[in-house]
């Protein structure tokens, strides 16, 4: 047992730090007197050393050492051909114990991927002849090709993985995301499915993911629901997260939140998808919950983008934009593919007035998630903020064409049309269409109500809002209804609506303002009444009534106080 064997054993035992020190010393020895170790031994030393570095997360260093090892191996293979006379059994034994060249290449590629040198990684892996590629190499290649946009190569790599391991579901997802037909993917897994009992859900699962990647949210939801209903797959966290995400994409925030919450209860350590959950919660003004969620996720891992995004959302919705910007940037640094982080950073930039930078972020998010509407909405908001209506219009039309005419896209387009005084009529028809599809879509209702308010068609607005409120209660809608009622001077009803709005959201400033404004409109009559009282008071109690001004101020205070309740 020579020293190399010791090193090997230590490496196998996982004593990487020890290996690192020892191998570094041995390598220097070998450099200083080349005859101390055979080239083969030196190759091994290099590999073990590089491996130790890899475990110490010194990836660049490791990649360098691995490349040196490869170089050494090349030289070695030439010399070994010269001496085939060695005892075959010993040779084979030795060959077994030495790390294979393919493994080394894979390690190098791994280092490169971590260092985000995708091209180098691909070229290293490409160098392996396709017959010698193991599934893990194929998988990595597939991922790299996909990222680099070489779809066809990615598809072949993934297919290769699936052929060797039919239950490699990530590869299946990869294929589906590259718009390979669901049936084709399913056919590759068919054999296993039939030979193993209780795997019959697999085809449904594949179908569901096919729907997800083709953007057919509706059918994807239905498929996953049917999967979930089966007792075998009930309460699966991953399914729940996918389902929640789908609900979110389809604009059904209530269901999305419910499902996220459930997933979170089932597995408190889940990280995936939680950024969306945090974003939804923040949007629904549950800021306390967001804070708690963020803190909890930081405890689980701060190496993921999600906790950063969540606390970013918290900062953003409590109007601390620069902090949100920093947190978003940190999240992007951890995971450059995080759509939610990009959106957060974009929105923060936009609200800080740096529209051009924001546009870049939204565009990137759009590229990563072409089916998510909020990317487009953010971008359009940016355009509107910089007064470039034409670009906004172009983008809205684009969305409308690409994602089909559903209530959400129609509303986006209508929002843009509303900005331009020339296209008011068009906006109106668009909103009507959207409302015909989904009469309860709050955004469309709000926009329509704004339009009607502008046109001073108060009665129509009141009926619209009342209809919408028949099925749901929403603070904004109640407030708008209050505004309309003030406009038709039905003060009593308006007061009711404002107080309902305030009971739904005690911090709604606009309702408070509306209430106060109404008070002021009331006050002229009061003021005269009070003057009369003052006049006739004369000899009576002067101290009690000062005048209408202080009275009004006092009233304002009261309303404020009531709002705090």
């Amino acid at each position: 047992m020579n020293v190399i064997d010791h090193v090997r054993e230590m490496a196998a035992a996982g004593l990487h730090s020890n290996v690192r020190i020892l191998s570094s010393l041995l390598l220097t020895m070998s450099n200083n007197s080349p005859e101390l170790f055979t080239p083969m031994q030196k190759y091994q030393l290099l590999v073990y050393h590089a491996d130790a570095l890899f475990h110490d997360k010194e990836y660049r260093n490791a990649a360098c050492k691995f490349t040196m090892a490869l170089q050494q191996k090349k030289a070695l293979s030439k010399t070994s051909k010269v001496r085939p006379s060695m005892g075959s059994s010993a040779a084979s034994q030795q060959a077994q114990s030495i790390p294979s060249e393919i493994e080394v290449r894979y390690k190098i590629a791994e280092c490169y991927t971590i260092l985000k040198l995708d091209k180098d990684a691909i070229s290293i892996l490409d160098g392996i002849p396709s017959r010698q590629r193991t599934p893990k190499i194929n998988m990595m290649l597939g991922n790299l090709y996909k990222k680099a946009g070489q779809e066809r190569s990615a598809v072949t790599s993934y297919k290769e993985v699936l052929r060797q391991c039919p239950l490699a579901l990530d590869a299946a997802i990869g294929l589906l995301s590259l718009s390979v037909k669901g049936a084709e993917v399913a056919s590759m897994t068919m054999d296993v499915m039939q030979s193993i009992p209780n795997l019959d859900w697999l085809s449904v699962w594949i179908k569901a993911h096919a729907f997800i990647h083709s953007g057919d949210n509706m059918r994807a939801i239905n498929t996953i629901c049917s999967l979930e209903k089966k007792s075998l797959l009930r309460d699966n966290v991953d399914l729940l997260i996918s389902l929640a995400d789908l609900y979110f994409r389809a604009g059904d925030n209530k269901n999305a939140i419910l499902k996220f919450e459930q997933a979170q209860m089932l597995d408190p350590y889940v990280i995936k998808g939680m950024d969306v959950y945090g974003y939804l919660l923040a949007r629904e003004c549950h800021l306390d919950d967001v804070e708690v969620l963020g803190g909890r996720l930081f405890n689980i891992s701060d190496q993921h983008a999600e906790p950063w995004v969540i606390s970013g959302c918290h900062s953003f919705y409590s109007k601390r934009y620069s902090r949100a910007l920093y947190l978003g940037a940190k999240a992007i640094q951890l995971n450059s593919n995080s759509v939610q982080a990009l959106l957060l950073k974009g929105a923060a930039l936009r609200n800080m007035g740096r529209v051009q930078e924001a546009i870049i972020h939204f565009r990137e998010a759009m590229r990563l998630a072409p089916s998510r509407l909020d990317c487009y909405e953010g971008l359009i908001d940016c355009y509107l903020a910089s007064n470039s209506i034409r670009e906004a219009m172009g983008m809205a039309n684009n969305v409308y064409k690409n994602l089909g005419a559903n209530a959400q896209t129609l509303t986006i387009l209508a929002t843009v049309c509303l900005e331009d005084p020339m296209t008011q009529e068009k906006a109106k028809t668009l909103l009507d269409k959207a409302l015909a599809q989904r009469p309860d879509y709050i955004k469309a209702v709000v926009k329509k109500a704004e339009l009607l308010n502008r046109e001073q068609k108060y009665d129509e607005g009141i009926t619209l809002l009342r209809n919408a409120l028949a099925n749901q209660s929403d603070c904004v809608l109640h407030r708008m209804l209050g505004d309309f009622l003030v406009a038709v001077s039905d003060y009593q009803e308006a007061m009711d609506q404002y107080s309902i709005a305030l009971s739904l959201d005690p911090n709604d400033q606009k309702s408070l303002e509306g209430m106060q404004k109404m008070e002021k409109e009331e006050s002229p009559t009061e003021a005269t009444a009070e003057e009369d009282v003052d006049d006739m008071e004369g000899s009576g109690e002067e101290g009690d009534l000062e005048g209408s001004d202080s009275e009004a101020a006092q009233w304002a205070d009261q309303v404020q106080w009531f709002g705090m309740q």
Binding site: D200, S226, K230, D252, Q262, A470, S473, E522
Partner: protein, 827 residues
């Protein structure tokens, strides 16, 4: 596994039925850890909920996907309890992608629980200010089950005017069956076995689908066809409706029923148990002596056995109840359910006959049952028959044996038992067992028994109609009518806490505090444990200044139930009467703490703040009361009162009118509207309003006083004087009346009379709380000062002062009747 589950489940229900919640929870936890099925989940959640831990049930159910309707219902119920209304609504109505389920969808999905689901949904809607939808839900729920009272009560409270005649009637017999949980989804004696097979179908519909495909060769084609059918129709169960079930999907119907299964066990306690005290009396009321008397008794005991816990110890409750259900069911369904769907079962039984003949034992009930037996039952039998036929299928074979031990226990029990119910049961069993027993033997007594039951239900409906009318009248503040209607109830119902409380409340609203107090003290005598309504009793006592009675009541109630807002309201009122306003405020706040949904506590707190001159806080309290219950007119009145004090008369009028809109019969409110109108210089309107008020209540001194003041202000001195003279007859010891008379005489130039009246006023109010009397007398000697002030203007000043003084005199010891009749009348 299901086999193992049975005894544990039975033990859990047994423990639950005997209020041994800790045992039940422990066992259910064990069961759930063992099997992890949705059924066990539901059982565990039920245990948590019944032991009063709604949050436990909520978290448990929320963490797991609920697919069965009863789980969803329970989860939604917990959500409502925990005030997570949006979530509850989402659970009940939320479909995929914002599409809300319609009520019909809910009815089909929840089946037999739909009536409860709908009323829960109605509750959610009402709490989120969607009254129209809420009332729709309530009505639908009532339509499904007219035995529900609370939705009707809620309907009245939100200001709807439901017609009790329309609601409390057995519109169709189908209705009748759907509200008796033990009728439709109950199981024939064989049901255990089907249920289990179906439970399997239900749990893994798609598995069976796959299985079918794979086992196509091994099993016969008919089976697979049937099974596919059932599982498919399970997937979109909305398609299924009992009436339109085609022949082949009998099993589908069955699987749907199976979904509701544990409910029936539960509703044993929920549904009929709540009715149980009533049932006998209605059974007796319309009873006519008939040859089938014995069978009536049998039947009667039978129903009661449903509610009684098993007296003979060991036998698990569940199976016992199942037997008795079978008994009742046959009674109900016989001529009940079947009317419109009779042909179906006939064809079914016929067509299935060849298949079922393989197992005569199973078939027997089909024959024993009358030819027009309800379709549900025959379909169930049909499924069982087919399931025995498919014995060759592995999965089903596993379940099949459970049937036999079950039957055994039952027979054993029925024979071992000594109670009449058991005898009856054994008869039922006999009937089911023996193929040869003719149906003729049973039809007649059954029909009679059914008629009995129907008559009993009709009797109950009659009573509910009357009570409903009374309550409706009370809620629309037709208090006199309410008193009339409720007083006509049969004496054994009249002398119950609920009825007396309602009548007491009616008197209270009419400001007849003496009568109210008498009724409430009667309630205290009959049901000393009654807490509901006691807050009104306490306010009556407050008005009557009965400090001793009030503090006794407060002590008793707070000792009894520290978690009820009523008790704390009573305590608050008690201290308010003793002028310990700070302590009163604390107690009212505690009442709100105990139940944030108790509107009256907010109102009382608001009034207390008014008394301590913290008007902003009072405003917030009244607003909160309105938020909790928009029809709480006292709070609207409170708001108006405050604005009136702040001299924002327009707003005050708005709020008074709002209150008046809710309670249009209130003379006090009318009177206040009149005063405000006068303050707004609409004297004509004001007089009209006051006249209306006096029409409603001719003896109301406050109205008369204000009318006199307005007449005085409008320089109609003669009329004013006449009014005041009348008023003097009603309240002879009121200083303000004399004061006003004095002023009138002063205006008329009769100084002597004026001075006399002023001095009387002084005598009656020697503390000089109303020091304007003195001023007025003083002014008498300085006539020149008065002259420049225009005469009409002098009124508002006086009126305001009068109000003020009355307000302040509230805090004084010698509150007189006029004071009591003043603002706090609407307290």
């Amino acid at each position: 596994m299901t086999v193992l589950q049975e005894p544990v489940q039975a033990a859990v229900w047994h423990a639950l039925n005997h209020y041994a919640y800790r045992d039940a929870v422990f066992l259910a936890e064990r069961l759930y850890a063992e099997v992890h099925s949705e059924e066990a989940l539901f059982l565990l959640a039920t245990c948590y909920y019944r032991s009063g831990k709604a949050y436990k049930a909520y978290r448990l159910l929320k963490g797991h996907s609920c697919t069965t309707p009863q789980c969803k219902y329970l989860l939604a119920k917990c959500c409502v309890d925990l005030n997570r209304l949006a979530e509850g609504e989402q659970i009940l109505t939320g479909g995929v992608l914002n599409k809300q389920k319609s009520q019909d969808d809910i009815v089909t999905e929840f089946g037999e629980t739909a009536c409860f689901t709908l009323s829960l949904l109605g509750q959610i809607y009402c709490k989120t200010d969607r009254l129209a939808k809420g009332s729709e839900c309530y009505l639908k729920g009532l339509n499904l089950n007219p035995f529900l009272w609370s939705p009707f009560e809620s309907l009245c409270e939100i200001g709807e005017k439901p017609d009790p005649d329309q609601i409390f009637k057995l519109t169709s017999l189908q209705n009748f069956s759907s509200c008796q949980p033990n009728v439709c989804p109950s199981y024939s004696s064989l049901s255990t076995s089907h249920r289990q097979t179906d439970a399997v179908l239900m749990e893994t519909p798609q598995d069976t689908l796959e299985l079918n495909r794979l086992n196509l060769e091994s099993s016969n084609s008919k089976y697979s066809a049937l099974n596919t059918d059932s599982s498919l129709s399970y997937i979109d169960s909305s398609v299924i409706s009992p009436d339109s079930v085609p022949l082949g999907t009998g099993s589908a119907l069955m699987s749907k029923l199976a979904q509701n299964k544990p409910k029936s066990g539960r509703s044993l306690l929920g549904g009929p148990a709540s009715m149980s005290p009533l049932t006998p009396s209605f059974g007796i009321l319309p009873l006519e002596p008939s040859p089938g008397d014995g069978s009536y008794l049998q039947n009667f005991t039978n129903t009661s056995s449903v509610m009684d816990p098993p007296s003979s110890g060991a036998p698990p409750k569940k199976s016992l109840s199942r037997i008795s259900q079978a008994g009742t069911k046959s009674v109900f369904t016989q001529s009940g359910n079947s009317r419109d769907i009779t042909p179906i079962p006939l064809t079914q039984t016929q067509s299935m006959a060849p298949q079922t003949s393989a197992s005569p034992q199973v078939l027997s009930p089909t024959i024993a049952a009358p030819p027009n037996a309800p379709p549900r039952r025959s379909t169930r039998l049909f499924t069982s028959a087919s399931s025995t036929a498919k014995e060759n299928s592995k999965k089903l074979k596993m379940k099949f044996p459970t049937k036999i031990p079950n039957r055994k226990t039952k027979t054993k029990m029925s024979k071992g038992g000594i109670t009449p119910s058991n005898i009856n049961d054994s008869i039922e069993i006999l009937k089911l067992d023996s193929v040869s027993e003719g149906k003729g033997n049973f039809v007649t007594p059954q029909v009679q028994a059914f008629n009995m039951q129907k008559a009993a239900a009709d009797g109950l409906m009659n009573l509910l109609r009357d009570m409903g009318k009374g309550y409706l009248a009370l809620c629309s503040y037709n208090c006199k009518e309410a008193i009339n209607i409720l007083s006509q109830l049969p004496s054994h119902h009249y002398n119950t806490g609920w009825v007396l409380c309602q009548i007491g409340r009616a008197h209270f609203e009419l400001a007849e505090y003496m009568q109210a107090e008498r009724l409430f003290s009667e309630v205290r005598r009959i049901e000393s444990y009654r807490v509901e309504g006691m807050e009104i009793y306490s306010t009556s006592l407050w008005h009557l200044q009965k400090e001793v009675a009030l503090s006794a009541l407060s002590k008793d109630l707070t000792d009894m139930d520290k978690n009820s807002p009523e008790a704390w309201c009573v305590a608050g009122n008690c201290f308010s009467l003793q002028r310990e306003h700070d302590i009163a405020i604390k107690f009212f706040q505690r009442a709100i703490q105990v139940d944030p949904g108790f509107a009256y506590a907010y109102t009382l707190l608001g009034h207390e703040f008014v008394l301590t001159e913290e008007l902003e806080k009072a405003l917030a309290c009244f607003r909160n009361a309105i938020r909790v219950n928009p029809r709480h007119y006292n709070a609207w009145y409170g708001l108006g009162m405050i604005y009136y004090k702040q001299e924002k008369f327009t707003l005050a009028e708005i709020y008074f009118k709002k209150a008046l809109g809710i309670n249009p019969q209130s003379s006090v409110l009318l009177c206040h509207v009149g005063v405000v109108q006068h303050a707004l210089k609409k004297s004509e309107h004001a007089l009209e309003t006051l006249n209306k008020a006096i029409n409603i209540d001719p003896k109301n001194p406050l109205c008369k006083f204000h009318r006199a003041s307005i007449l005085f202000a409008n320089e109609k001195y003669k009329a004013a004087l006449q009014e005041l003279e009348e008023l003097k007859q009603i309240v002879p010891k009121e200083s303000l009346v004399y004061f006003l008379i004095g002023k009138v005489y002063k205006k008329l130039g009769q100084t002597h009379l004026a001075l006399m009246n002023f001095s009387w006023a002084m005598d009656l109010d020697p503390k000089g709380a109303n020091n304007q009397i003195k001023e007025a007398i003083d002014k008498r000697y300085l006539p020149d000062d008065e002259e420049p002030v225009p005469q009409e203007d002098s009124y508002p000043f006086d009126s305001v002062d009068a109000e003020e003084s009355q307000e302040s005199s509230m805090t004084d010891a010698d509150d007189t009747q006029l004071h009591a009749a003043e603002s706090d009348e609407v307290y």
